[in-house]
Symmetry: C2
Subunit: 340 residues, 2 copies
């Protein structure tokens, strides 16, 4: 690691290049998926594409549909069925984002005004339902009952995870196990399903389906842990990213759980108050960051994420070497080694 | 109609007996559906069955699953597949009720505290999502892509109708046509799908599928129009039913549209103010009832409902006489001739 490139520049390059590599390998597919997404959010009711377009455009890296596309290609599939299914996965994800923002009363999503802030909670709930139904329509067009089973089940598990998370909100006594279960359900299950359906479309063996499920599930857990770390990251703050949302919303995430377990009485009292307080005090966030640093909570959370990343990487062992496989392995590394 | 039975008693008897007859004819089926409903709302997350149970128990007459059961039996089907699908239809309906109450900020549902009032909007949104996913899991277990297509499409149309309704809320310039389109989408489409899948399960011809779709769609439109009439009904008010909700929520329903079209300037100004006003004034509802009476708006709305009821009844003409058919025809009459 002896390099003269400044760390921040390196990290930025690493970050973009891992996903860019993967995107480049499925460039035609992802272009088709983007087109499908635009087509299928059409409606006679003009507000629907406007609202759906807002969140989909503001919308991230298309990581989940990319996983579906890449997993299918990893399995040697040459057709185009996976495109509709990748769009379907993105619609499910978008629907949950819309409902999440309503539940969390978020004003911002990825630094932009959230759909509920712009269009109201009512429309966000209903357009979420619409996208969810459209996701199923896309799956039905594909016609695979196995895919439908996997994604219907994933959708039910996601809602269970969201309700579970709602119940642990503001509860500074949340255990690491409860946290992991929520993460698995609300985030990792869709990653798992997105990958797994690749093997189903390609008609591969159940052991390959299981390998991709394992890959997606553990990548998803690692992804969410790191996301939760980044929300307290001083570096992210310097880069102008939104931080501090989880503390404000009273979300009890892994770094906080570690800090609570390792802290003294006074510190626990702080966390209890800060997580419970609907009107957080000036300086709460900075003090929280100090506690996390003092107890190595961010560092050790990343350590936990590495564990899941390792499981994900090993899961791909059953697949022969290929550029797609390398790119997927790089995505695991990128996911975890984002600067915090 | 020379009878000595008091009108109210007669109406009450008519009302219960039409649905009771139908329920009795599919008694075993509906018992199995109720069991499935309880089973399938189970979750590791204990709040889910509690919240779902609340709305399902407070829950009405099971009209939609009854329609699925009866339509399937009308087609001569002897198996049990329709039970899961009827439960699925009820779950979709329940999910939309939960989301509706959040969107409308309703405190009451059928005279009881609504789920959002008891458990919060957040949980209601998420448990709605859960039930919706469970609905698809049930369909997937059944395995018919045709049924999945019909219900996925119906679900998308329902959300479109709900968004459309949201946009026409508080708009006293809403046309009868726009009202009908909303009713068709948000209510009648699920009635249509619930009936139509009966023919699909029974493997009947597409003309029978179309007949049942026509029956359900027009019954659904009639049902919603009458529901909208009952919300202004003096008799319902005397019977202790909840009335006045639509005016309070600024919903522009058919009786109101007729009264607006037939009213003078001053009356239109009243409607505009009353529908727009988030804090309705004392006496608004009584004055609205007077205007509706003066212009025959409730009576003529029921007249419109009779039109759709007639289409529904005629649609069943392609099916041979049977007790199930008679009971379905009675349901149309009961739906429309509820006292207002």
């Amino acid at each position: 690691m002896a390099t003269v490139i400044p760390l921040e520049a390196l990290s930025k390059r690493k970050e973009t290049s891992a996903l860019e590599n993967l995107t480049a390998l499925v460039a035609e597919d992802i272009a088709a998926v983007n087109q499908l997404i635009v087509q299928r959010m059409e409606s006679r009711v003009e507000m629907i594409p406007r609202l759906a377009g807002h969140i989909i455009a503001s919308g991230g890296k298309r990581l989940r549909p990319l996983l579906t596309l890449a997993s299918t290609r990893l399995c040697g599939y040459q057709g185009q069925r996976h495109r509709k299914l990748a769009a379907s996965v993105e619609f499910i994800h978008t629907a949950t984002l819309l409902h999440d923002d309503v539940v969390d009363e978020s004003e911002l999503r990825r630094g932009n005004a959230s759909a509920n802030a712009l269009f109201g909670n009512e429309a966000s709930v209903l357009v979420g339902d619409f996208l969810f139904s459209r996701a199923f329509e896309l799956m039905v067009e594909d016609g695979s009952i196995d895919v439908l089973r996997i994604l219907a089940h994933a959708s039910a598990v996601i809602s269970e995870g969201e309700v579970h998370q709602l119940l642990t909100s503001n509860d500074s006594g949340t255990s690491e196990q409860a946290y992991l279960e929520v993460v698995r359900d609300k985030t990792a299950e869709l990653f798992a399903a997105a990958c797994r359906i690749g093997a189903v479309v390609a008609g591969r063996t159940s052991s390959e389906e299981e390998a991709l499920r394992t890959f997606g599930l553990n990548l998803g857990i690692a992804f969410q842990i790191v996301d939760d770390v980044l929300d307290y990251s001083a570096k992210q703050e310097r880069l102008g990213k939104t931080v501090g949302t989880d503390l404000r919303e009273g979300k009890v995430t892994l770094p906080v759980i570690l800090a609570i377990h390792r802290g003294n009485e006074a510190e626990r009292a702080f966390w209890k108050r800060a997580l419970d307080d609907s009107n957080p005090r000036e300086g709460d966030f900075t003090y929280a960051q100090n506690l996390l640093l003092r107890h190595g909570a961010l560092r050790d959370s990343i350590g936990r994420a590495r564990h899941y990343g390792a499981i994900a990487r090993d899961a791909l062992g059953v697949f022969p070497e290929s550029p797609i496989k390398d790119a997927l392995l790089d995505v695991v590394n990128f996911t975890i080694e984002r600067e915090y």
